[in-house]
Amino acid sequence: MVEVKDITFSYGKHSILKGISFSAEPGDCVGILGNNGVGKSTLITCMNSIRKPDDGSVLINGKSIFEMSRLELARNVAYVAQKNELSQTTVYDAILLGRKPYMTWSMNCADYALCDEMMERIGMTDFKLRNINELSGGEVQKVMLARAFVQQPKLLLLDEPTSNLDPRNQYEMMKLVRQMALEQGISVLVVIHDLNLALRYCNRFLFIKDGSVYDYGDGSVVTEKALRDVYGINASLVIHDNKKFAIIK
């Protein structure tokens, strides 16, 4: 279980996050929603110690991440950045890097086996020795996600994983995230701007407005009023095929 308590962060005198609190169970996929600049990405980076919050705590199964060693933290929290710097390396080596937190001197057979399995899982076996620079945006995101999954984390942080992807890749990506989260009992926090994608694949929603939590909960918190208050847009929510969709007016 992941518990976030009163996370506060500021850049100098400019306050970004003001006491963010929420919790997520294993298998939960939490969509973090809000306008640009409200602190969604900052929250994500505070949750894996890339940024040190001014105050507050993040607990994973009762243990604070700020008390964990670097390696222990990397074994518990995986992160996929919004923009990925691509190295001149193969797809297989890029995924293998996810086993680094478990490595002593070199990778062992179990590490390789896990990567083999993951490559097959994401359907990229034929790309194994392809240079990662030669892949499309969607394929690169799959590789980054695979690297995060072989880290075997308890908490997965995704910063706009579907930006720059075509609709098909967006849905494939989020479907994979949801499946893996449920199968492996990973709590996923995903910063996402596509409301319909979030409504389809997330089961919890965290609305952030002006650095504070506007609302948090299951699909019932996604209301027309919430969208108007948080995004400043008029949208209708319709139910189709037992699923909720947002239509912006």
Binding site: Y79, L86, T89, A94, L97, K100, Y112, A113, D116
Partner: protein, 362 residues
Amino acid sequence: MQKTQTALKNSYRRYIRRKWLVLFVLVAILCTCVVVSISVGSSGLTISEIVTALLGKGTAQTSAIIWNIRMPRIVTGIMVGIALALAGCIMQNVLRNPLASASTLGVSQGASFGAAFAIVCLDAGAQVNASTSAAAAVSITNPYLVTLCAFIGGFLTTVIILGLSRIARVSPATMVLAGVALSSLFSGGTTIVQYFADDVKVASVVYWTFGDLGRANWQEIASIFAVTVIALLYFLANRWNFNAMESGADTAKSLGVAVDRLILISMTLCSLMAAVSTAFVGCISFIGLISPHMVRKFVGNDYRFLIPASALMGAIVLVLSELVSRMIVAPSILPIGALTSFLGAPMFLYMIFKRGGIKWSK
């Protein structure tokens, strides 16, 4: 599924074996260069004479030529080549800058200034024999002081570069420009030091900055060896961390890399290697810059292989340059620093223009 995984494992094994093969080929090339370099000189030696002498069974004259004259130059070339190439390879990684190297960032020039200061102001060097070649006329009487001052000069530059990259958040391109500015600053400092020195000391510093592999004795070679081996072991132990750094600092942190500590220790070791090399053999440019790029084509950016391959390529380039420097206007020996610049600059330009060979990170 089992079948697919076995095929995957086999193809990856073949891919890794190819990279090992590149390393073996580089070792073989280096060995060949060493043997050729030993055999070439005013006293022509045959392969059998060389092998016999290396096994300790040669004549007194052959053994003296090999062990006292040629081997120190070659071993210095190998060690300095490894040191400078390693420094370039690691600086390019931690600064996320493909043009980073001890010479382009001004570290070598900072070390040069430190060493010149030690020679002129602290009497750590002297002109001992003006009748021989110009470079051979200079002797460092206090190598530890020269190394210390060279390290301080080099490390000062490193601190400024690190400060710019971290505090001012300058781009990789700006970092190189800052290196140009620092190089200019330290060159000016060296000129000032020379201006107030007497003629003999000015001559010593000028000859010393030419770069000469024949200057280091076995004791000094041991110092370069010790620093380089420590740095190499540290870099190899952190090869996966350098691989993680290629994905950006944030991703590296999320993979458990202590990014700040890695950068600080790596840059300190790079400065130390550049400083020790500069202190004992003078300024040698381009080796650190081009060697990693030359082998990237064959081993990619995988630091498990890039680190040893860069080191071997650095040694090969410097041993070959040393050989050419002795052959062009024999029996005189050209300054090695000038020669590496002549060889390195066109090679680097070629790599830049060929398929945009060098990529900037953002």
